[in-house]
Subunit: 129 residues, 2 copies
DNA sequence: ATGCTACCTAACCAACTGGTTACCTAACCT
DNA sequence: AGGTTAGGTAACCAGTTGGTTAGGTAGCAT
């Protein structure tokens, strides 16, 4: 894609096991390119391309120290991904499902409650689907 | 990719604004293919391909009612994505950052506490970086 | 029977991806 | 100065993706 939004770039970057493994490694701390490429049966340029994809998505940033170019995890895009999935949490989370049923009941005007179970607790402001 | 793991397929499916828009529409309830294609300046086959990608990733399932093939959201893969991002939550969540500092302090043996602030609350079992 | 609607597959195309080899720069170490 | 190490770019290749047009199938309506 010639012009890709940030979220699409993030998802595309995460859609590769090698790149996810690199992120998992960086979650433990900074690492050089050599260090990052060690676990993979892959040439340097291939890793270099993966890092460029990750950097373009904003998932990593690169420093400079002598002949090394240490990579650092940047979690901003991951936070956006988390926010994205939160929009759908009610589709798998039981407590949200109960909350949905409760709110539906309220909306139907039949607010005699406890018919479908009361919501235990829930961040109401997270629901804007 | 010829053999793609489920998480990769999910991320790849989500890396397209059209497909995310389709999911957003399905979050409001089942819809026919025609209905789903309405908002897009795109031919039918293009939508059909998008739906196939989403179905292959397990993000939707398709029923059959007369000449319609209603699509339904399946949130399982989204839950996996949420679980993935949770592994990195400590990189952007302040309370997790404080928890990290606290645990680091404990591990260093200098458990005199309150030096870097006490953790407010935190699901410890979610941390297995 | 005929036509319309909903949806799909097939074949094609341009652009992108993920990998390679070959080659280059920059920094360190004798 | 010369060699080694870390890392990058360029050119290329096969396979995938996202779109198209053309044409086919299944179900409903007249």
């Amino acid at each position: 894609m010639v012009t890709t939004d940030r979220l699409s770039a993030t998802f595309a970057a995460l859609a590769d096991p090698t790149r996810r493994a690199i992120l998992a490694r960086l979650a433990k701390g900074e690492a050089s390119v050599k260090e990052l490429s060690a676990p993979f049966a892959m040439t340097g340029p291939a890793i270099s391309k993966h890092l460029r994809v990750l950097e373009h998505a904003g998932l990593i940033s690169r420093g400079r120290a002598a002949q090394w170019r240490p990579c650092r995890l940047e979690a901003g895009p991951l936070q956006e991904v988390a926010a994205f999935t939160e929009e759908y949490r009610r589709f798998w989370d039981d407590s949200y499902a109960r909350l949905d049923a409760y709110l539906q009941m309220i909306q139907d005007g039949t607010a005699e409650a406890t018919a479908a179970g009361e919501p235990t607790e829930g961040p109401l402001d997270a629901r804007d689907g």
